[in-house]
Subunit: 273 residues, 3 copies
């Protein structure tokens, strides 16, 4: 049984996601369809790229990852299909696949141009239904990748902002704020952090917290930095909302620095699993 994931900015109010699933049910009736998220803010290509980056590897081999965050629908932007050694990806050519693809070994990149695979007539406002879902269904049903359209080597790529090394630490930025208000940064493990140095994550003059192993290493309502579930350092508030309480937002500069002013106290570490 093949698998198709869906990532869109279509929200939960309308019928748009449901219709795409209808197209998949008609054209790839055996495929398992899984929602990654439909809660991407309208047109937020970077948020979708980040969600995909963090989710795509957890799916079965040869899963088709279908992303429709498409502010340029109906314009001259093309449709993109990418086959890697592990997965297939279908999306508008607006960079939304960029960061996932940086981690993949790419075998083929094609424009989606085969008009025979589209719903007829294709609308100018809903390519998710008329072009992208049919392309994903075609692959999920075992269709040949090279039938989607011509090869290309010029997909649009979004730059990833790499942290920089400064004074024995790293400078990065907040790249995502999640549902819990955790501010996820672009500082990614493994950073070469020599133990037993104590590390502090700074987000404003005089505002910082220690890097700990889990949220509950600090008291309820206190800020804490942890290595999040996708390897990125994040600033959280234990059982609270860091984004609101600390005023953190996407693009904010953060800096990870060794704590040179105090000896590391012997903290009680949680024993947990």
């Amino acid at each position: 049984m093949s698998c198709v994931t869906l990532t869109t900015d279509f929200g939960e109010q309308d019928w748009f996601v449901g219709v795409m699933k209808g197209v998949l049910a008609v054209r790839a009736p055996q495929a398992r369809v899984v929602d990654l998220t439909h809660g991407i803010a309208p047109g937020d290509v970077r948020a979708a790229a980040f969600a995909l980056l963090n989710a795509y590897p957890y799916f079965p081999r040869r899963t088709v990852h279908l992303v429709v965050v498409d502010p340029g629908v109906g314009s001259a932007r093309r449709g993109l299909a990418v086959r890697t050694t592990e997965f297939d990806f279908i999306a508008p050519d607006n960079g939304v696949l960029s960061w996932a693809l940086e981690r993949e070994r790419i075998r083929s990149v094609r424009w989606i141009e085969n008009e025979d695979l589209r719903l007829q007539p294709a609308s100018a406002t809903f390519h998710g239904r008329d072009i992208f879902a049919p392309a994903a269904a075609f692959l999920a049903a075992g269709g040949a990748f090279d039938r989607l359209g011509p090869l290309t080597d010029s997909p649009l790529l979004l730059p990833w902002s790499d942290p920089s090394v400064v004074n024995g630490g790293w400078v990065g930025e907040v790249v995502y704020v999640d549902r819990f208000g955790n501010a996820i940064t672009n500082l990614h493990q493994p950073l070469s952090m020599a133990e037993p140095v104590r590390w502090l994550l700074h987000w404003a003059p005089g505002a910082h917290c220690a890097l700990e192993t889990c949220y509950s290493a600090v008291g309820k309502g206190e800020p804490v930095a942890v290595v999040g579930s996708c390897g990125f350092l994040e600033i959280a508030v234990n059982q609270g909302r860091a984004s609101d309480q600390l005023g953190l937002k996407i693009g904010d500069r953060v800096e990870l620095r060794p704590d040179r002013t105090t000896a590391r106290p012997q903290r009680k570490r949680p024993k947990g699993p």
Copy 2:
């Protein structure tokens, strides 16, 4: 494998949708269950009717479309089952199926009254779980349509507001505002629009925009009218929210008129797919 779609106003917070899926899993374990939407505003029968209208044809033949937007639950309103040449529909008899059925060839209409098919005891507040999901599961599992209950020819029908022809144009109204703030009207293609006339969609004195082929035919933040993905003309703002920016809401009068004051400029059309 049969298919059941769900359209409700149950939202995402509670367990109501999940429980209906449990009933379907018990009684029709082979059926594929697809969410059309659960984000209908509480009790908004017209919004649900419009969502269903736009989504139902994209599903496999003999899909059971189950709609539970049911402000009259527990009252004297009946349950309705409709078989058409292509699909089955299950819903409270409050008109929610009206506009989809206008496009279908109807073969049988029955009240859902067979108490043997219900969960026992049936509650007075959740017929989605106790009556409608069991009826849909019964059909999805191959049950005989005529066992649901007696024939009827008097289901409640909601009137569809047809546009009227005025001065060589059409007058209609906004019937839906989607997640992107697009104001969808009841002006539906094909309208007999003689090219090469340029058309303007007016929504208030002095407020209008041109009918174009896609959102990005105008600059970012500018209003534009397009034929939306379901054939209805809609007013959008390219990468913005027409409903907020232009103050459009359901029921607002709109008028599509030929532009007689200016020659049509030679616009650059986007080449796009």
Copy 3:
């Protein structure tokens, strides 16, 4: 085909639920995965426990109910697996299973400690992905329950607040407010209510409404008490929001008392199904 339900506080914005489904698709490809809800307020263990209580019995026998509302993730709190005669349950040991388990016949309770079943390396911030989804997948794929970890008899239990009998009536409290603004109480049927007494539900001095059989027994916009779909008495406003209109919130005291001041009027009862 086995069934796995998901109940979380992960919301709809991020990729967290999708990733758990990816893990399930890899490890239990034949399982049907059903969302109970992901709209639990962050860290609200009691709301999740109440949702589970009301939903879990409607699923096929041997369904694995997976609950991840986990404010203590990464701390010393353990993971819990419970097998009953009908179902399996997987959750953090924070009491979220308590009220469902009170209605079940328990066969085995184990800590989830088998590190071989985890994703490697397991994060300290997302046990839903790394520990709980793998444990649920293991069971759904037919794995032996006793391989999850050692037996325990000390899971954390949340007390259920039982109504008390006062003056021939009952005193209870609001325990949940649903999407429609209905205020659900802990007063559960069957209460031994001798007909033909008329009952009033009081929520403040001078503020009360009658217990009726359905929402529409009263006029639009009027308050009404009904026995809800899960057997709990709830205060509603017909086609309105009781929580907003009457100012009801979780923890508010309510009292069900016979109406001794008036003879019961002969109400017209709705005939409905």
